[in-house]
């Protein structure tokens, strides 16, 4: 675990996620939400965020494979989300294309509302607008690993978010 340039340590993550939980709880006071996340990168964030809210909540997961030509959904949600408040939980939003892919898919299930909560957001890279009222931290184009995020499956289980150093894994 040594030698990483840490951008957000465990305490910073814990504090910000607690705040996000409070923001979401306030925004949806008296309601319930369903968190939907895409495996695997957002798993830690989903686990911590869903426990940081004080409103009634549930969660579900989707999985995709990234084929050369098209993304392909390999696991869909099993919960019924029709007429429910849904929050897509993302560990990081850069271009927004992956998040939009998920949003397009979830829209077909007629949720009552559909918003995004991103732990990290890189607004300068974002190509498209997303309904993303909940953002943990803003970042630039620096590539990161840790807290679920990987580089070719390396670094996912790091408890902090660090700058990616590719030479470490080659």
């Amino acid at each position: 675990m040594t030698g990483y340039k840490i951008l957000f340590d465990q305490q910073q993550l814990r504090q910000r996620i607690t705040e996000l939980g409070a923001e979401i709880s306030a925004a949806y006071e008296g309601e319930s939400v369903v968190f939907v996340s895409m495996l695997k990168g957002s798993l830690y964030f989903l686990a911590d965020l869903s426990r940081a809210v004080t409103i009634e909540a549930n969660y579900d997961l989707v999985a995709v494979t990234s084929q050369k030509v098209r993304m392909q959904l390999t696991r869909d949600i099993t919960l019924q989300i029709e007429d429910k408040h849904v929050i897509v939980v993302e560990e990081i939003v850069r271009t927004g294309l992956t998040t939009n892919y998920l949003l397009q898919h979830l829209e077909t299930k007629n949720p009552k509302s559909l918003q995004v909560c991103a732990l990290l957001s890189s607004p300068n890279e974002q190509l498209i607008d997303l309904p993303m009222p909940f953002i943990g931290f803003m970042i630039d184009q620096t590539r990161v690993i840790g807290y679920g995020m990987d580089y070719k499956e390396h670094g996912r289980t790091l408890p902090f978010i660090a700058k990616l150093d590719k030479s470490r894994f080659t």
């Binding site: 990234s66 084929q67 050369k68 030509v69 098209r70 993304m71 850069r94 271009t95 294309l97 992956t98 939009n100 892919y101 397009q104 300068n124 890279e125 190509l127 498209i128 607008d129 184009q141 590539r143 580089y151 070719k152």
Partner: protein, 308 residues
């Protein structure tokens, strides 16, 4: 609303394919029998109906309304097309709707020998009987079109000619449904007018360079619908009012009403592009354009490749 007309020779699986298309698009499937039942039966007695069924020349005779049956039917079909999507099979639909820009015209055909074999199997008859049947049906088709319109259904009338001996039924259905849906989206784009800009409705120009091709693939990968350079925005004019500078942003995203302009060129060209963009934002304030700079594009593609 829009119509898909399907011309099919007997034995080309036209009825099944067109029914599947109608089912996929959740719209009505209308064949000869339904046309007679829906539109003609209400205005014709039984004897007239029998005459119309026996020979197409009776479609040129007058109804009680003073129009010919052909004219009456033409009006009724066009009115239906304004209210709903439908798949119209046979009945020289391509000629009834030849001037309707929203209609999609499909011809389903197959090699004659194959059609005979298929017909013999379906009708459980001999090859000579199937051959006779096919010949009679083909003759009836030609006669109907030439009697009512003084013309034949030609290959050039159709948006797409599908040889059902070369593709599966599912492939034929998918082709028709996809094309119909794409045409509808293009029409939706055309109705969104931006004063001063020029809309390109003919075939779009080819993507200009490798970066644009890669970017288009990236958008396809994420199933984000796009159109390439669908509009040109004049941004500078000379004293005579001639356009001296125009901007055709690259990738239009209908979902976001947003243009993404890719730039992977040297700094001096980026400066010109920024100038065009600034002028466009002033002249066309409702138009959303975002520039994707070279560094961002390369970073995006690198991450994309890493994730595969």
């Amino acid at each position: 609303m829009a119509i898909i007309t399907v011309t099919r020779n007997a034995g080309s699986y036209g009825d099944q394919i067109s029914k599947d298309v109608a089912s996929r698009l959740n719209c009505e499937w209308i064949d000869h029998h339904l046309v007679m039942e829906k539109f003609i039966a209400p205005i014709a007695d039984e004897q007239t109906l029998r005459m119309l069924q026996s020979s197409p020349k009776f479609f040129l005779s007058e109804t009680k309304e003073g129009l010919s049956f052909k004219e009456y039917l033409s009006g009724a079909l066009l009115e239906m097309a304004e209210r709903q999507d439908a798949v119209l099979v046979g009945f020289a639909g391509v000629l009834f709707f030849q001037h309707d820009p929203t209609a999609l015209h499909v011809r389903l055909y197959a090699d004659r020998e194959l059609r005979v074999q298929r017909t013999a199997k379906i009708m459980t008859c001999t090859i000579p009987q199937a051959t006779q049947f096919i010949q009679r049906k083909d003759r009836q088709m030609r006669r109907f079109a030439s009697t009512l319109f003084g013309a034949q259904e030609e290959k050039e009338h159709y948006h797409v000619n599908i040889n059902t001996g070369k593709v599966t039924q599912n492939e034929a259905v998918e082709t028709i449904v996809t094309l119909f849906n794409e045409m509808k989206k293009t029409r939706a784009l055309e109705t969104k007018n931006i004063p001063g800009s020029e809309l390109h409705t003919e075939a779009y120009p080819l993507l200009k360079n490798e970066s644009e091709i890669e970017f288009a693939k990236l958008l396809d990968h994420y199933e984000l619908e796009w159109r390439y350079e669908p509009r040109t925005f004049p941004v500078e004019w000379d004293a005579e009012g001639r356009v001296t500078l125009a901007f055709s942003p690259d990738f239009y995203q209908p979902r976001f009403d947003l243009y993404l302009e890719l730039t992977t060129m040297n700094q001096k060209y980026v400066t010109l592009k920024n100038k065009k963009l600034a002028k466009l934002k002033t002249l066309y304030p409702g138009v959303n354009v975002r520039i994707v700079y070279k560094r961002d594009f390369l970073s995006m593609m690198e991450r994309f490749e890493d994730d595969l």
